[in-house]
Point group: C2
Chain length 206, copies 2
């Protein structure tokens, strides 16, 4: 479930400060997944993380700041892109990662909570946009390589293609309630590849 969140048993280098951040962000993610943004409370997060309340208030101060830091961490911790040697292979790997993340109970709930919060808080919206910019940027080289290999027309916008892979999966999660299974992921990847091959993601002006 590598697109976001910190997995149980996951360890990271760093001293006490890094361990505190790790514990607090994990607790914040758990609380968000369980009860959503409305119930998120720094005191409760401190209790869950077994960290002093003062530390949490001094370091993060407000819920939107804590959530922005969680999103930054989710972007940093997410798996690097897969390289399969073909556009369709790479986009399918990306689609499966997104689909598995959104279909996972904890991660799906966490994404829903943060996306819902972003609809009514500008700071959270900015943090969310930055999260997707990082994630999309991570996978953009698979499109650039496909252009270099001659699989896609020159001037294809790599970010546009990567976003096209995720869009139908998020639309199912948030709007239509459509299936979030491997078949949906594979279809999303194949559709994005077909549109890109047809030249529909070539930047205007190129």
């Amino acid at each position: 479930m590598a697109l976001g969140g910190v997995e149980p048993g996951h360890t990271r280098p760093g001293g006490r400060t890094a361990r505190v951040r790790d514990a607090v962000l994990r607790a914040a993610g758990d609380a968000l997944a369980e009860h959503g943004m409305d119930a998120l409370d720094l005191g409760d997060v401190a209790r869950r993380a077994q960290v002093g309340k003062t530390t949490v208030y001094r370091r993060w101060g407000t819920v939107p700041i804590l959530v922005a830091d969680l999103l930054r961490d989710m972007a940093d911790q997410s798996l690097p892109r897969t390289e399969t040697g073909s556009l369709l292979g790479d986009l399918t790997a990306n689609a499966r990662l997104v689909q598995e993340t959104l279909a996972d109970a904890r991660q799906g709930a966490l994404f829903k909570a943060v996306i819902a919060a972003a609809t009514c808080d500008a700071a959270t919206a900015r943090a969310l946009h930055a999260f997707y910019a990082t994630r999309v940027g991570e996978w953009a080289p698979c499109v650039e390589q496909a252009v270099d290999r001659g699989e896609l027309p020159p001037g294809t916008d790599p970010h546009e293609v990567v976003r096209a892979v995720s869009a139908p999966l998020y639309y199912s999660l948030l709007c239509t309630g459509g299936a979030l299974d491997a078949a949906a992921a594979d279809r999303a990847a194949a559709a994005a590849a077909a549109a890109a091959r047809a030249g529909l993601h070539v930047r205007s002006g190129d």
Copy 2:
């Protein structure tokens, strides 16, 4: 802004009961667009609609029931599909309608509020899924006609194609903060058409 909501000056047939519903749903939509779901209160809606509080409580009872009725009304009131004679023309008309709705200040805020509420309320989620099922069903015949004209392979899933048009626009609205302009709408339509032509939305088993 025909995808949802009731426009100012809009009149519908019906007696007092229909007029009360009209006023209450318009007030509920206004309140949602202005303050989101958390602040939605039946008493406030009654005041805004200049309708007795008892009437609102007796008829709708709870916020999720009121929101479900609003979504039903938005689906009923939305414009019928456009027929341009070509798949790309029809899908572009649909994409422009979705894009204009989501880019509109009131309507965009209303959709965000309802989608956010659906992330943490099962009844609202069911009402939202039903709304999209109706909307998608309204536009599905343009895909069926494209199959009949030989523009698309037999067995193409019309709902899948129509959903593919909306997905990138909602993904921009809710997740990435990407542009919601006419160019984005046209790209969404063209990408969905290209993927459909490539046979990627053919139902498995067909």
